[in-house]
Homo-oligomer: 480 residues x 3
């Protein structure tokens, strides 16, 4: 007696009928707009090879830290979920891993993962019953069968999802072979890269030396000298732009920026590459590099994204056994008002530069980020991020930023995901929550209905295209 | 023309009729579940002696810092309320104190104290008119008369309130005589203790030396040596367990933990007992002791509660005249992500250990606590605490923790009170606010109605029993 | 085809019909109460001279940093808006500036500025169509014509707005000539001053030396000696009181207070006036002066307001070209619990002293400010301030402070504005949001309807009169 799986057509709209009908009307007009995904972590190899995915565990469970961190928090072992450890992939039967997940699916009640998964189950795979212990095999078999079909290959789903633009994220030392293959293939899907140079900036990363060496090799620059190192960045940024990139991305522990003199930069870089750096040097170098990246963005027009504030690899035991990116990154308190000032002293008044700020510390929305974005021409606010990419998180974002920064200093939605099948669900959640917020403003007499309709389109489409300069992305022809 | 006192049967449910009817249905099924109170500060002497209480001022007003702090903030003197000072109990007539309180009862509009008191007035004492200046005597006389009856003695009320399990909190140097008396008495009420060793850990407490001496005497250990001191803790923990304790509790100024080497521990403890400690040593010792307590919990199965972040005795003038716990403790900013790391390096991946985290700094809910509890197997989130134990506070707790930690990394409700007569009211508020939150999720299509019904029971009963290991509490027979 | 401008009579009330009708009933009773404006920044010269204002750009746009910061954030130049720079007023045609503003008016969707302006356009100027590019000239001409009439001179509008009491803010070194003129004029409007001595306390202000010299000259005291400096403050406070002032105001970067010995004060002041101070000295001096001001308030009965936490002049480029107060002040994290303690050690238990606390850091509402104000007799909470003076900001203020501090430790509304024409709109927003909050409490059974009605009047009128000692303000006769 499996329970039916249906998606409430009014989900995420306000409960009172007056606001709900306004939200419904707003949503109807934007529900089917194409997806623009300007920041995320899907694998370009999928679109380069267009190979079939295999099964639910490999595609949906084992790579998704949102899912296995919750199970891990309740005492489930990562091995039992086939999450790779440092020694490789555990021998667990993928079907058994899926059954374990299904039996624990109630843990996700009230979480966005539950919304995303149910949407994918119902809309992508056409499941009509809920995932639970009793339906685990039905799910596993149905999904495996569909994934083996042509209609479920990456490019087919890309088209079916009506994705107009999809940006992946690659390191400065990446050769972008998959992106080159996509662009050579003649396939019409717009999949572009994003320049994320953290690996050659963060000297505290365990693979910094290797990344720097690859960086030098790819560019032919003397990356052990300050000027050569900067030139290498310029070189790679140009190459990334030729692969369609319109943006850079910077994931730093803090939002610290610096504005050192050229001599100080030379000396600091000497310590960094010479191996005599302290943790304070590492932080100062990251800080100075944000300012350098901002200056390069001023010159080359790339949009700059700053994602600060995650304390990475918090679980020492898990880091030892499983390495990075295993759901053990925890946000910390983040300052912007003091941290960004050195960079803003250099580029703050630029009107052609776009720096998009993200946060994991919601206490900064109304206090620091909205006042900053509501003043500086170069600053915009990225959408609610990571742990806050959720109905409540999005609502708080709008409630705490709109009154000071307005809507037009925000940049639409980012799905920021490596879970390709969740992309339609995530954009749908964002569109619904925005419509719910706009409906409340209309119901409370704070906005006219025609303004809300314009805003619904702006938040879904106009702002993201403009902020990320989507329509300035290099076309495939240029790159071949 | 006194105004009627009635409790709205739909109180604390959402205002819109659709959500309200869902909440009403959810609440109906859990309203009468027995009370499990795993953490609080009632006096075990009440249940040991079962003596009658005297009057409203002695029972409800003079010991309740929620009440007299509000009156004090408006210029009312504590003497006029019969709040004890260092010299003893003021000579104020208790009836006059009560009248003063009644005349100022409007100050509590919008506060949880008002909800708790009205509930107790109506449900426990059967009052039919509101408390105000004109009804002060009626209240005073009615309450005094009832308190003198057998039906209002502590054990009778315990049964009437349908309390299934009630934990008090005692210091490591407490002899637990009242608990022993309760267990010897043959009374069936489950009243257990909780191990709270702050008095022998916080060297900055003015009574540390005396507490440490008592600790040594009770245990027969050399508590002035590091190993003997740890052995004494193990000894007392075992004794507390024999008195039904399933948990420990730690009220520290910060959440700092440490992971010192044995030699560093020895040296630090030497300074602590030798009197040569600095404030930094005092903090480091508290930090190290949290890790020691976590290791002991790993060994003996006691659930560990951490209540950090209160700046105690903030009002120097009041501390001089009245001493501790007089409503002058003020929360401060609290860090968890860095503070807990040393302890988690030691015990973070344990799946049998339970550490329940509380906070007075709501900015940590979504930023630090939910991400930590949604990852570490040993961490759970305690309910909204103290100033946040209120309808708005509970709502914020659910809104800011559920999406990342889920419901199943939380532990149900704590009344955390010394106000025995408010216990039913407090649990009722929690149940109603949880039903209101669940109703919103159902109304917004984020949860099925049958899931919400399961969750309502889980949040009221299942989770608290499991988290606090209620059903593993030592029965009275063992202790006699 | 201009769109009609109408104000929803139910604006800012909850959307569900049940709560909405309660809010509507509450609001009806207080909508027309006179305005008490105990803190703001209107120009006393307006009321002294009663001269006509000129046009929309000069009156509404160029002086309002809420407006031009938003336009600036979207790349509009301040020159194009006729915002004065260091070299004077730009040559831009005011009509063209207004047209640029009108064409960008959609940027304010969802902001309080939009609510305030539409209210002023509709209610003060009688506009029937919305401001947009097409109606810019109609607006400009209509407003200019009205402003030229007698009915739109400052005193006429003061009466029309039903302002009962209006406090401006002047520096310690101000001669209060305009206030003297107002009081000599025989006009009945109660316009009083507020003592804001920041200019002679903040040694880091670029005009400190000049301000201190004027301070000495006005008072005849030796303001370069500590005792003379304090005497000068007492002297000016008395003079301000004679000009109707009932309050002082202190805008400091932090809430730091200090409690130095007399000898330490002398030494610190020596460094301050001797020019040998460090930034730490500057901060310590501001901190000590808050305590000195509190002691003087204890003696002379002036209400003390503390507005901390703004990082001033954040945009270095803009500060160089345009100077202070150009929309580039950004809030920072603010601590109160530790910062206020030295001052509270001195005056914390006073029951006749009133210190009103404000914040730009909403994370302190529930954590620090409500617990402090719900305990200390001398502390009260000012309303939501600056970036938080908005519907969402006011709602958060009530939701996060009421349960701990109650309503009666708050002080009603402050418009805190230099935009005179927005005063009715701002008070109307506050009254509506308070009624909406009260309506929710009634709908949720947390408050009786008659209590909510009493509270609506208290929040609008009673509390502000009492907190600011409005009815103890020196009448004009005394000052002549």
């Amino acid at each position: 007696m499996a329970r039916p799986l249906t998606l409430d057509p009014d989900r995420l709209f306000p409960a009172d009928e007056h606001s709900r009908s306004i939200a419904r009307d707003l949503y109807r007009e934007i529900a089917d707009l194409p997806i623009v995904s300007p920041h995320g972590h899907t694998d370009p190899a999928w679109f380069a090879t267009d190979a079939n995915w295999t099964n639910a565990t490999e595609l949906l469970l084992a790579p998704d830290h949102y899912l296995y961190r919750m199970l891990y928090s309740q005492g489930v072992s990562l091995d039992a979920l086939r999450v790779p450890h440092k020694g490789g992939v555990p021998a667990t039967d993928p079907r058994a891993a899926w059954a374990l997940f299904a039996a624990n699916y109630h843990l996700f009640r009230g979480t966005p993962s539950r919304l995303w998964l149910d949407h994918a189950f119902a809309e992508v795979f056409g499941m009509a019953v809920r995932l639970e212990a009793d339906t685990a095999d039905l799910y596993y078999d149905t999904i495996a069968e569909k994934l083996a079909s042509d209609a479920f290959r990456p490019r087919a789903l890309f088209d079916r999802f009506r994705i107009d633009f999809l940006a992946t994220t690659e390191g400065a030392q990446d050769d972008l072979a998959h992106h080159a293959a996509i662009r050579r293939s003649g396939w019409g899907g717009r999949v572009v890269t994003t320049y994320r140079p953290d690996g050659v900036i963060d000297v505290e990363h365990e693979q910094f030396a290797g990344a720097l060496a690859a960086f030098g090799e790819l560019t032919g620059e003397d990356v052990h000298g300050w000027q050569g190192y900067l030139a290498a960045h310029r070189n790679r940024r140009a190459f990334f732009r030729s692969m369609g990139a319109t943006a850079t991305d910077h994931g730093h522990p803090t939002a610290a920026t610096a504005n050192l003199s050229p001599a100080e930069c030379e000396a600091l870089f000497g310590r960094i590459v010479g191996g005599s750096w302290t943790p304070a040097d590492a932080e100062l170098f990251r800080a100075q590099m944000l300012t350098e990246m901002a200056k390069m963005s001023r010159d080359d027009g790339m949009v700059m994204q700053i994602h600060p504030g995650s304390v990475r690899n918090h679980n020492a035991g898990l880091f030892a056994s499983h390495g990075r990116d295993k759901g053990a990154d925890i946000p910390g308190r983040t300052d912007y008002v003091h941290a960004l000032r050195p960079m803003l002293d250099v580029v703050g008044t630029e009107t052609d530069l776009a720096i998009i700020l993200f946060t994991l510390d919601e206490s900064t929305y109304a206090r620091e980020l909205a006042p900053l974005a509501g003043h500086y021409p170069c600053l915009k606010l990225g959408p609610s991020w990571w742990f806050h990419d959720s109905p409540e998180g999005m609502r708080r974002f709008r409630e705490m930023t709109t009154e000071t920064a307005g809507f037009y200093n925000t940049v639409g939605f980012n799905d920021d995901t490596r879970a390709f099948l969740s992309i339609p669900a995530r954009h749908d959640v964002a569109r619904r929550v925005d419509c719910a917020f706009l409906a409340r403003l209309v119901a409370e007499g704070r906005l006219e209905d025609w303004e809300a309709a314009e805003l619904a389109t702006d938040l879904t489409s106009t702002l993201v295209r403009r902020a990320y300069r989507v329509d300035q992305s290099a076309p495939a022809a240029q790159a071949t």
